[in-house]
């Protein structure tokens, strides 16, 4: 079986949504500096595009657990 880190380099949907909520919350709430705001915004934008690309995935992934691999 592939190592977890290799198979999932990008954030999961759950992690991405959590981070996006944090970003929006801090942009809406306290006043980070303009520079920090822009950094947060950039991060949010790149997370969103990663997630939207993943949502559009077309190839289904199915692997079979081999019997010798059960240990």
């Amino acid at each position: 079986m592939a190592k977890k880190a290799e198979a999932h380099p990008e954030k999961s949907f759950e992690e991405a949504i959590k981070r996006l909520e944090e970003i929006v919350h801090s942009l809406e709430g306290q006043t980070p500096s303009l520079d920090d705001s822009l950094k947060l915004f950039e991060e949010g934008k790149s997370l969103l595009s990663q997630c939207l690309a993943k949502v559009e995935a077309v190839e289904q992934k199915l692997r079979i657990l081999s019997k010798d691999n059960t240990a």
Binding site: A7, S12, F13, L27, E28, A57, L62, L65
Partner: protein, 402 residues
């Protein structure tokens, strides 16, 4: 003559053995238990019968241990095994691998009995149930690689969540050995730590077909599974002990996929909302910053004493407007505008200008800044403000400059 072609008893017996054992593969036979004895050795001997015939059966000690419950006289049962011929006694016997209650009544009695037993062990307890993750992306499956259940789950996943990855632990879902394979599949997936949710199940079938999902090995594996596990056995009306032990019971395999997997549309909508909020919050931030900038520019305007400053102020103003207009469009380009603006603001600081060698000239009488040399009369008193300190002076002559 007849003597020459005659077989010995042993020869015939050997042939009978070959014909019978070779001609009859492993099979299920159904009948009523009419005699039953368990020998001191642990082996069980009994007779299966129907209206016309009888069949001697044996269940060896090793297999007795695997049986959920031993049948009693009068029980209608299904026996899985093969015919074995004993040449020495000239007899044949049915060698049973596995026994199951047959008929709905018996099945449901066995079901109830096992259910009581496993419930007493706490395997169905609510506090054992683990909540499912809201958006799982890695799913483990325990089912037949050739069954409808697998295809149903994959089809639903393609519609709802095509990015989902699956790991299948192939297992026979009916017949002898099915329960052991299902239990082993659950354990292997659980141990791998890979799936976020496991779905165990199969498509519809007769109560006998679904029986493996009532066996203690499966129920225990499901109850002990650390990964959230969903049971999807048969149709809506079929309830198995596996269902009761699972963290969630789905009426069918397709329904399991629908319950477990997020909906693509809903997820997209969620991301659209987040995108809108992100955009709005950043616009709000920009507007706020712009307002601050304009306030600062206004202060500078009020304090400005030289036309060069006014000019700079206009540029500040214009930058502010550009910034405002850009706010509705491309956010990325703002970064450079804003950096530029920050530099400009630095140069607009009156002290910074004076530090570069400029001075401010004001009339002595009313302290108004002097913009043109011709505004001054000869001999008029003026005050000069330097970067550090002030000085008084008198005009000796003035000229019209460009």
């Amino acid at each position: 003559m007849a003597e020459a072609s005659a077989l010995s008893v042993s020869e015939l017996s050997a042939r009978i053995k070959i014909v019978l054992e070779g001609g009859l593969p492993l099979l299920w036979v159904q009948g009523e238990v009419s005699q039953f004895t368990q020998h001191r050795s642990g082996h069980c001997y009994f007779t299966l019968s129907d209206e016309q015939s009888q069949l001697s059966c044996v269940l060896w000690r090793g297999r007795v241990a695997q049986q959920m419950a031993l049948p009693q006289v009068g029980d209608l049962i299904l026996a899985y095994g093969k015919v074995v011929v004993y040449e020495r006694g000239g007899r044949y016997q049915f060698d049973c691998y596995e026994l199951r209650p047959a008929g709905v009544g018996e099945l449901s009695l066995a079901f109830e009995a096992l259910k009581q037993k496993l419930a007493a062990e706490g395997l169905f307890a609510l506090e054992r149930k683990i909540p499912l993750p809201p958006i799982p992306e890695r799913i483990g499956l325990v089912t037949s690689p050739d069954g409808a259940a697998l295809q149903d789950i994959l089809r639903v996943a393609r519609e709802r969540a095509p990015w989902t990855e699956f790991l299948l632990a192939p297992a026979a879902v009916q017949g002898s050995g099915a329960a052991a394979e299902i239990a082993a599949g659950i354990k292997a997936l659980d141990k791998s730590g890979w799936p976020q949710v496991i779905i165990v199940g199969r498509g519809g079938g007769s109560p006998e077909d679904l029986w493996a999902f009532n066996e203690a090995a499966v129920v225990r594996a499901v109850a002990e599974c650390q990964t959230p596990i969903v049971s999807a056995v048969g149709h809506e009306v079929d309830v198995t002990l596996c269902d009761l032990a699972a963290d969630l019971r789905a009426p069918t395999p397709s329904a399991a996929a629908e319950m477990v997997l997020p909906d693509k549309e809903a997820l997209q909508q969620r991301f659209d909302e987040l995108r809108l909020r992100l955009q709005r919050s950043m616009e709000g931030r920009i507007t706020e910053y712009r307002r601050w900038l304009m306030d600062y520019a206004a202060v500078l305007m009020r304090n400005s004493v030289m036309s060069v400053w006014r000019e700079e102020s206009q540029r500040t103003d214009e930058l502010g407007r550009r910034l405002g207009a850009a706010g509705a469009r491309m956010m990325e380009s703002w970064r450079s505008d804003l950096n530029l603006l920050q530099e400009k603001l630095g140069s607009l600081n009156p002290h910074a200008v004076l530090a570069r060698g400029y001075s401010i000239v004001r009339r002595q009488k009313d302290a108004t800044p002097v913009i043109r040399a011709t505004d001054l009369a000869v001999d008029e008193a003026i005050r000069i403000t330097f970067h550090q300190g002030e000085a008084g002076a008198r005009i000796t002559h003035s000229e019209t400059g460009s």
